[in-house]
């Protein structure tokens, strides 16, 4: 059941990304290009996204002791603001600013068979692998 639900949520999420045009790197970069032909569309994407989520989270999820098809919630508990968070965010921001592509849109673009997408994903996986090594080493 969980696999079925995960698939459909992934499908929905991908549709959302596509309609929002986050899957178009040019759109993302024009949102980030505040000094140029600024396209504020993505601001509305994130705004409506987090608003819908927040509403549901505080009025529904927070009132439940467990999810519908799982024994527990897997919500991150640690509240510490540490170096990894800050440096990680900065590095991600740099990569995102350079390409206009973040993980979700990259995956949704797989069926375009665009070579640059495949290379992006390959490098992204390498980056994740490297970060996991760094995180393990620090422990």
């Amino acid at each position: 059941m969980k696999l079925f639900i995960s698939f459909f949520c992934g499908l929905f999420f991908g549709v959302g990304l596509y309609i929002a045009q986050m899957t178009n790197p040019a759109k993302v970069i024009n949102f980030l290009d505040v000094a140029g032909n600024w396209d504020p569309s993505l601001m509305l994407v994130m705004g409506s996204g987090l608003s819908v989520f927040a509403f549901g989270f505080f009025f529904v999820v927070n009132k439940k002791t467990q999810p519908v098809f799982s024994k527990q919630f897997f919500i991150p508990e640690h509240k510490l603001i540490d170096k990894n968070l800050v440096i990680g965010a900065a590095l991600f921001g740099a990569g995102w600013g350079l390409t206009g592509i973040c993980p979700g849109p990259a995956i949704v673009n797989v069926l375009t068979f665009e070579p640059k997408i495949f290379v992006f994903i390959g490098m992204m996986l390498m980056g994740m692998f490297a970060a996991q090594k760094v995180l393990k080493a620090k422990l």
């Binding site: 929905f12 999420f13 996204g49 991150p76 510490l80 968070l85």
Partner: protein
């Protein structure tokens, strides 16, 4: 040059929020794409199958749009070296920083998580600066 598209932005965003919410409510998991991707490969991970299912859903989602004859323009005007470096940075940064635009931006801020609010501010600011420099100073 892209046009301001408020309606599709609001709708797309709402879908993102709603699907993330549904996912959390039904499975207990946060729809943070970078974590779902990196978790799919982590050797220590005991239960990666739901992640692969979710990712399969993401991969196949354009087919849903095709069914409804909904098409968007898309262009990647980025050079190969930048794709390579940028891709690595996105992977490394999201894993080190525990999240991306979906995990921190939507789910994290939606939960009023201080970590996510800070992370989102940082990656947004850095991204804006990088675009400013690469578009208006050096042309990459």
């Amino acid at each position: 040059m892209t046009e301001f598209t408020p309606l599709s932005a609001l709708l797309g965003g709402a879908l993102l929020g709603f699907s993330s919410l549904l996912f959390l409510l039904l499975t207990g998991h946060i729809a943070g794409i970078s974590s779902i991707v990196s978790g799919s490969f982590k050797a220590l991970n005991t239960n990666p199958q739901w992640r692969w299912s979710f990712l399969l859903g993401l991969i196949l989602s354009p087919l849903v749009l095709t069914l409804f004859d909904y098409h968007n323009e898309s262009s990647i005007d980025i050079s190969w070296p930048v794709i390579i470096v940028g891709g690595f940075l996105v992977g490394f940064g999201t894993c080190l920083g525990s999240g991306c635009t979906s995990g921190h931006g939507i789910c994290g801020i939606g939960r009023l998580s201080p970590r996510s609010i800070l992370s989102t501010c940082i990656f947004m600011l850095v991204a804006v600066i990088v675009v400013f420099v690469s578009r208006h100073f050096i042309v990459i």
